[in-house]
Symmetry: C2
Subunit: 237 residues, 2 copies
């Protein structure tokens, strides 16, 4: 898990530095899981590192800086998982791509509740994620969903949500993700995104109680399959 390839030709000092840097990220993830983002403390990390508290400042500019590092790290890992799952499906099977993407999203969240909370839960008091570093990794997953619906939009006619749907201007979204698609396809994409985040948050944040009344992984499957079908992407045969 740790051996994220530190190049041999680096100077010993540089290797040690890289190792410590990695270790800080790992400890950050652990502390996130154990104490939550609001309680993330540089001093506690220094302690676990067997360093004096001021030494951590050789590696990290401030507490907020570490938080940003962890946010980017989490968004990146989550997006990597989702993209990998997406790529597993046949290139022409939008439904399967979306299904697998949503499941990968939930699976990661369930496995990493604290990091999920950092991304999709309450904002950390007193901390504002810097948009420049955070936006790109943070939009990879939605971007994938939107792009997949745009692709599906070429062979499928998505129905409008209702008969008289108010018109929204999605131009800034389609241009951000560099796609062309109907408003109906965009609404479908957002519906899937919202239900995925909704179910995942309800589960991870404990709204189903300590002992959920039903198997939440089955429930998720049913709900996602159901919505995909209703949106116009029914299961084959």
């Amino acid at each position: 898990m740790t051996d994220s390839s530190i190049p041999d030709q680096l100077t010993p000092r540089a290797q040690a530095r890289a190792r410590t840097q990695q270790r800080i990220l790992e400890l950050g993830r652990e502390h996130l899981a154990t104490y939550g983002a609001a309680a993330l403390s540089l001093r506690a990390i220094a302690r676990d590192l067997d360093l004096v508290s001021s030494a951590v400042y050789r590696y990290v500019a401030s507490r907020d800086d570490l938080l940003t590092l962890l946010v980017v790290d989490a968004y990146t890992e989550l997006a990597d998982r989702v993209l990998a799952a997406h790529a597993t499906a046949p290139a022409d099977d939008s439904r399967e791509q979306l299904r697998l993407s949503c499941h990968a999203f939930r699976d990661w969240a369930v496995a990493e509740p604290a990091r999920y909370a950092l991304l999709y839960g309450s904002p950390v008091p007193g901390y504002q994620a810097p948009a420049e570093q955070t936006t790109e990794p943070g939009t990879r997953v939605v971007g994938l969903l939107v792009r997949t619906f745009a692709a599906a939009d070429e062979h499928i006619v998505f129905a409008p949500p209702e008969d008289a749907t108010p018109v929204l201007d999605f131009d800034s979204v389609t241009s951000e993700f560099d796609v062309q698609m109907s408003d109906d396809a965009m609404h479908a994409a957002l519906a899937l995104w919202a239900i995925t985040v909704g179910l995942t948050s309800l589960e991870v944040f404990g709204q189903f109680g300590a002992e959920p009344p039903v198997d939440l992984s089955v429930l998720f499957t049913v709900q996602i399959d159901g919505l995909l079908g209703r949106l116009g992407l029914p299961a084959p045969r």
Copy 2:
């Protein structure tokens, strides 16, 4: 806003106590909004109350106790709003009841982001809400949705989410809310619940960015109307 009726026939001391008790709750709400739940501090509240820090313990057993008070307070206010909106619709119009309920949910959340975060966001580190006090107010909203779908289930045939839907045992849920309904109606209720929480959390927790690309209140309307229609509760002609 403050005059929550303190009975006149109470002794002056008892009246003062009631007033202080109320004031603590209000300050708690404010601090929640300003600093977040993790940073909620009895000392800070004492300061705002012009009391010495130890005096707060006359009113509140501990910090966790105050958090529980705030959780119950927030769940209660939210549920009151949603139930009131629900009651506004004609008794036989399930679609309208649900629509108004969902909108009331979002409206409250947008108006009270910090309290919403306390209920539906990341768990507060080191704090576990006591189920005995929290479950009842915390399930009023879902209960209402479920009961409304159960009522609708009597005149409407809800379609199964997909052709071959795995069977889930919802008995513990239906008996908790004291209703009878088809699994398909239950799935529909959960879909609406999930998309409501999903859209609301995405909005309140800032996932649409500082300047959302579209009007989120319109988006919410479209999405809820769309899902209600797809679930088998279309808008009247």
